[in-house]
């Protein structure tokens, strides 16, 4: 049993046994830690892991609290039915707000969360039926199978049952196919889209989950206090939730809970001690907490959790116990290979303009199954732009692209990936903190089908095992099998490129786009790569390859297209290209 598990066990023991003997004051703090923690955990998911900052969580807490406050008093509903309604209303609101704002770049989102956080707050304060600024009171006691949660001690069990359930579900979710897709939201969006992850959908999902947790927290809060008014759902609380997540460590589920605990305790302590110390009352605790947050962000932007987790981590060889790979896992279904000679990719007159600059001007090319086509050209010739046009990362200005006879221009990258096209990037794009194996498994995203629910409940373990086994198979195929548990950021650049090929292969594509795969490889590695590509070709895969290394290209590929200044200047067999005067001029200067 590792120390992490022991830590969790001790913690669970405290929340289970604590209410039996701990003094009232500590129970109160424990309760508030749980309430705030639930929101902060959601924020860790959306902000720390998903990369989207939200100041508006308090508004979702408010929706949950007001839903039950209104329904269980004025309408006389059971609190449990009100919980369901609260969650539905919150999720609907989050969906609407998310659809409006989540597509916005970086800083617009947090600003808009401030704005709608304020809007919802002012709305609640002005609605007559919600009691205006004085709120609603006399909420009923929550009962479950005859047991009444009618005092803070008993209520503590209810709160912590929800918190621990949320942590369990979220940790399951993060260690799954959907979890990997979510981790791509921070720093790997373009890559993930090309691997078939629907990034806008993942964003909304994460946002809605965090809103849902906030709503549950609001429901708990309302029935603990048995009274609600708008104050706890204003912007200041939204900000405080974010501080909790940041102080604890926004990238970690447990860190968010830690942050909630720290702020609850510090605030309690400060409101008691500081005024006595300074001889006057005031909002010292806010000043103190704000300054603490500023200093912490200056010194430890990752939050406090990494320091604590470092203590709990198993000592020894220092290696992280990675995700296990099971040999017995069911193999994933494979796409049926296309017959050699089938037209895979057909690009006609592709054009891309950036303002006045024509990066690609009317280039046509085609790739058939069982053939390797090289795209050559000096730096700045437009090769990588061409790749981005084909894979849907950039939209075409004019022209057309079709794949397996189907027009794909205008489709989003993840839809194109679904059809059986996979790619690597000139500047490697991987998630440096995830293991090599997990990075490769992102490539298999479309070969799994488990959704958020099944992943969170860990009902998809068989599929997950198959995915990881497949990822390992591809990793082994490219020769990185023994590095599977190393963080991907620790690989050499050459190995990172190879990892990208394994990831692309993990998608089981019919067409493979490789952007400078041999750059940074040693001779032996290049030979191994060439052998692999020949084998893939023999299996009927089509390969489109951008490369500079002539020796590597000439002995390997079937046909070559040469680009210069965004135009196609030559096309033909390798030996024809070697003698083509236009190509020689482009590469070596004019031959007099």
């Amino acid at each position: 049993m590792n120390r992490g598990r022991i830590g969790v066990a001790v913690f669970v023991a405290i929340v289970v046994l604590g209410p039996l003997f701990l003094p009232e004051g500590i129970i109160t703090m424990l309760n508030y830690t749980g309430l705030y923690g639930l929101v902060a955990i959601g924020l860790a998911l959306v902000t720390g892991i998903g990369g989207m900052t939200s100041f508006g969580q308090a508004a979702f807490v408010g929706i949950g609290a007001y839903a039950t406050a209104y329904l269980s008093t004025a309408a006389g509903w059971s609190p449990w039915a009100a919980l369901v309604v609260g969650i539905v209303v919150t999720c609907a609101t989050a969906l609407l707000l998310g659809a409006l704002t989540l597509r916005l770049a970086g800083h617009y989102l947090p600003l808009s969360t401030i704005a709608w956080g304020l809007s919802l707050y002012f709305l609640a304060g002005n609605m007559e039926f919600l009691g205006g600024h004085s709120g609603l009171s006399n909420l009923p006691v929550v009962q479950l199978a005859g047991f009444a949660f009618d005092d803070p001690r008993k209520f503590s069990y209810l709160i912590w049952a929800f918190v621990l359930l949320a942590i369990w579900l979220l940790r399951n979710l993060l260690a799954s196919r959907e979890g990997r897709a979510i981790r791509c939201l921070k720093g790997g969006k373009v890559m993930a889209e090309s691997m078939g992850v629907n990034i806008p959908r993942s964003k909304i999902v994460v946002f809605v989950i965090s809103a849902l947790l906030a709503s549950v927290s609001g429901w708990l809060y309302a029935h603990l206090q048995r009274f609600v008014n708008p104050t706890p759902f204003g912007l200041n609380y939204g900000i405080e939730y974010l501080f909790m997540a940041v102080i604890g460590g926004a990238g970690y589920v447990w860190g968010a809970l830690l942050g909630a605990g720290i702020i609850t305790v510090i605030r309690e302590w400060l409101t008691d001690v500081l005024p006595g110390l300074l001889g006057q009352s005031g909002s010292f605790e806010v000043i103190f907490l704000s300054i603490l947050t500023i200093v912490l962000l200056q010194r430890a932007p990752e939050g406090l959790w990494p320091f604590i987790a470092g203590r709990f981590a198993a000592k020894g060889d220092g290696k992280k116990a990675g995700v296990p790979v099971e040999d017995k896992a069911m193999p994933l279904p494979k796409r049926s290979a296309e017959a050699a000679g089938t037209m895979l990719l057909e690009v006609k007159q592709a054009t891309k303009r950036f303002g006045g600059l024509v990066a690609v001007g009317g280039v046509s090319l085609e790739v058939k199954a069982g053939e390797i086509l090289a795209l050559l050209g000096p730096n700045g010739a437009g090769k990588s732009t061409m790749f981005n046009l084909v894979s849907g990362v950039l939209p075409l200005t004019s022209g057309s692209v079709s794949f397996l006879g189907k027009p794909i221009d205008g489709l989003r990258a993840h839809d194109i990936a679904k059809l059986g096209m996979s790619r690597t990037f000139q500047h490697v794009k991987l998630l440096p903190n995830l293991s090599v194996l997990e990075n490769v498994a992102i490539g298999g995203h479309l070969r799994g089908s488990a959704g958020i629910g099944r992943s969170a409940l860990h009902l998809e373990r068989a599929e997950e095992a198959s995915l990881l086994a497949e990822a390992y198979r591809q990793l082994d195929r490219v020769g990185l099998g023994q590095l599977k548990h190393v963080p991907a950021g620790g690989l050499s650049l050459g190995d990172q490129r190879i990892l990208e090929i394994a990831r692309a292969l993990c998608a089981d594509p019919s067409l493979l786009l490789l952007d400078e795969p041999a750059a940074g490889l040693r001779l032996k590695e290049k030979e191994a790569l060439a052998a692999l590509l020949r084998k893939l070709r023999a299996e009927g895969m089509g390969v489109l390859l951008v490369e500079h290394d002539m020796d590597f290209v000439m002995g390997l590929v079937d046909r070559i297209v040469v680009m210069e200044f965004g135009q196609k200047i030559a096309e033909g067999l390798p030996h024809e290209i070697q003698e083509n005067p236009a190509v020689l001029e482009a590469y070596l200067g004019s031959v007099e």
């Binding site: 902000t47 900052t53 100041f55 409006l100 704002t101 597509r103 916005l104 770049a105 970086g106 800083h107 617009y108 947090p110 600003l111 808009s112 401030i114 704005a115 709608w116 304020l118 809007s119 002012f122 709305l123 002005n126 720093g187 790997g188 969006k189 373009v190 889209e193 990034i199 200041n236 900000i239 974010l242 501080f243 940041v246 005031g282 909002s283 010292f284 806010v286 000043i287 907490l289 704000s290 300054i291 947050t293 500023i294 962000l297 200056q298 932007p301 990362v393 950039l394 939209p395 989003r412 990258a413």
Partner: protein, 346 residues
């Protein structure tokens, strides 16, 4: 609603709009130069108005204590920095700028100045107390994390806003104040009654924006600032110090905030936390301009001002709700214009 009410509401909206425009411009300026989304911009507004009110009541304004404290912290940071690098001249400069100058200011304020001063002098003193807060806060709070991500900077801004507001409550108290108007003139133009104060506000706002435009177009430092906002690394390679640019941007922001506070103080009752709401409206304006365009931000500010004054006529309790909901259609419009996969932030 008849014409005279509409005209009155338009005038009211234009006055607030002019102040929001100033703030929107300051927010765009700070963001484009330092990538800081400067949430505490509104605090400068509230602090300068409250400082003015304190001066008129013959009290020592609490801003002085804030200034002294911030100077002391900055002085310490600079001294530690100069000790580490062994740079003696930096230590001397730090002592002069962050210790001697504020101490002298405090001494003059506390012991030399007579309690009753002409209004213009009071306004100058208020600015003298508020404007240095800009570069001081930059030095203490932002400079150590100048290379942090936009989000880290934003969270820091929010924390700073909370700290400043709570400090405001401490030194200014919870009760609001309103400063006397600069001018009590009134002109009747048809059914419209134009107040002298509104002319002051709109005039000062236009002059300030014109001055800024002149600064960015014709002066060397202004151009350097503009260069930094276009390309930070490029500007640094051209020997433009990003720290200097950041400091200057914050100074300008504080000056704009301080001026706005003086202008709006006689119109709105100011509390220690009023600044935030005013600042946020500047934000909504800035967002309308996409945080990059000054003219669009100014236009957005007028829109916000008009929306606010008309909605306060029709449904006054929903006034704030209306203003902050305005941002959603604007964001929708912006998100419809961006449809490709956004590149990841470095």
């Amino acid at each position: 609603m008849d014409f005279s009410i509409a005209a009155f509401l338009v005038q009211d909206g234009l006055i607030s709009g002019a102040v929001y425009a100033l703030l929107g411009v300051a927010i765009v300026l700070v963001f484009s130069v330092t990538r800081v989304i400067f949430v505490p911009q509104g605090e400068f507004v509230a602090f300068s108005a409250l400082t003015m009110a304190a001066l008129q009541a013959g009290k020592t304004p609490g801003t002085l204590w804030l200034l002294l404290m911030a100077s002391a912290v900055a002085c310490m940071l600079e001294l530690v920095g100069s000790f580490k690098t062994g740079d003696k001249s930096r230590a001397v400069r730090a002592l002069l700028v962050y210790a001697v100058a504020p101490a002298a200011l405090a001494a003059v304020m506390l012991w030399v100045l007579p309690p009753q001063l002409p209004m213009l002098v009071q306004a100058l003193i208020a600015l003298l107390l508020v404007v240095p807060l800009g570069p001081l806060l930059y030095r203490i709070v932002y400079q150590p994390v100048a290379h942090g991500s936009v989000l880290v900077l934003l969270i820091i801004s929010v924390a700073l806003h909370l700290a400043l507001t709570s400090f405001g409550l401490l030194v200014f108290g919870a009760e609001g104040s309103r400063t006397p108007t600069f001018s009590d003139e009134r002109w009747q133009v048809g059914p419209l009654s134009i107040t002298g104060q509104s002319v002051w506000v709109i005039g000062a706002s236009v002059v300030a924006i014109a001055l800024l435009a002149w600064f960015f177009t014709y002066t060397f430092r202004g151009k350097a600032l503009k260069a930094t906002s276009v390309n930070r690394v490029g500007a640094e390679l051209m020997a433009i110090s990003p720290t200097g640019a950041g400091s200057l941007a914050f100074t300008l922001a504080a000056a704009i905030g301080g001026l706005s506070g003086l202008l709006i103080g006689p119109i709105n009752t100011m509390f220690y936390d009023t600044g935030f709401m005013i600042g946020l409206k500047g934000f909504v304006a800035a967002i309308v301009g996409g945080l990059v365009s000054y003219p669009l931000a100014a236009l957005g500010a007028l829109l916000v001002g008009l929306l606010e004054s008309f909605s306060s006529f029709w449904a006054s309790s929903y006034k704030e709700f209306a203003v902050f909901t305005l941002i959603l259609p604007v964001l929708l419009w912006r998100s419809l214009r961006t449809h490709q996969i956004e590149e990841d932030e470095e």
